[in-house]
Symmetry: C2
């Protein structure tokens, strides 16, 4: 969210503010994911994270399109929430230990990231609907659906990894 104090006089201003927060969050994710992909050992997890990196690029393009439609700049905010979540993921892969336990920890960190995005996109989708921006609402709903799907995929992958971690 906004780094500097700004005037939130109406829902439109809050909508743009939140979109910028998510835009920065997504860009942080594209920089952080390669490290998690590199450090993960389970092939399914590695492939799942790689796929999500591709999906994230598409989500950024959707946000670019929305900023164009709104005639607003995309940048200017630092998403402190995502910064903290990514720091947690970095910490997780800095630990030594059993590979499957670290993989389980990577999933745990990644699901916190997904949940952040689910909350964020749910909010801006609702704002877009209220503001009568139907096309933007559709685009944001697509991303929301992808985040939910990514979270579900991680839960599925975790089933195997957690059992391996338990046996470690």
């Amino acid at each position: 969210m906004a780094l500097f104090s700004m005037k939130l006089d109406n829902l439109k201003a809050l909508f743009v503010n939140e979109l910028r927060d998510l835009y920065d969050a997504e860009n942080q994710i594209t920089k952080a994911l390669p490290k998690l992909i590199d450090k993960s050992q389970n092939p399914q997890l590695k492939a799942g994270l790689k796929e999500h990196l591709e999906v994230t690029h598409g989500q950024i393009r959707r946000l670019d399109r929305i900023f164009q439609m709104l005639n607003e700049k995309a940048t200017g905010e630092t998403c402190k929430g995502m910064k903290g979540l990514i720091a947690e993921g970095d910490e997780m892969v800095s630990h030594s230990g059993d590979a499957s336990v670290i993989d389980a920890g990577i999933i745990s960190a990644a699901q916190r990231v997904e949940h952040y995005e689910m909350a964020g996109y749910g909010t801006v989708r609702t704002y877009a609907e209220l503001l009568g921006h139907r096309e933007m609402a559709n685009l944001l709903q697509q991303t929301l659906d992808e985040e939910k799907q990514a979270d579900e995929t991680l839960s599925q992958i975790a089933k195997t990894i957690n059992v391996e971690a338990k046996a470690a």
Copy 2:
């Protein structure tokens, strides 16, 4: 999650690590919520956040009980994720603007916090089940249900506030 490098040799170690993360997160929330309660204008929102502060104290007591059962210390971790999320909430209430727009922003920040906890408690509940700690799994499920309920309550309150924010 862990501030210092630690050995994650098995699922039990990861379980304790994640519980400590959530313990610190909950304690951060109890310190941050009074400010959001103070700054929120809508009576329903104020009451909802107040109620959640009470619920959070109960959630901390559940974690205390789990640490006792595990014979492990509760403290030692700083939850960087929650730190970032709370910083976002603080930023939100530092903005000037229409009261209902700020209220909508408070809900948005609070829902990110709820989602963090939903992800975190979902993870530790699953670990507890896998490790055969049925009573702990039940306690963690209770908290998870409360977090989902809190998120739902915020969505309901947002319906009125967002319409007011739109009319601002």
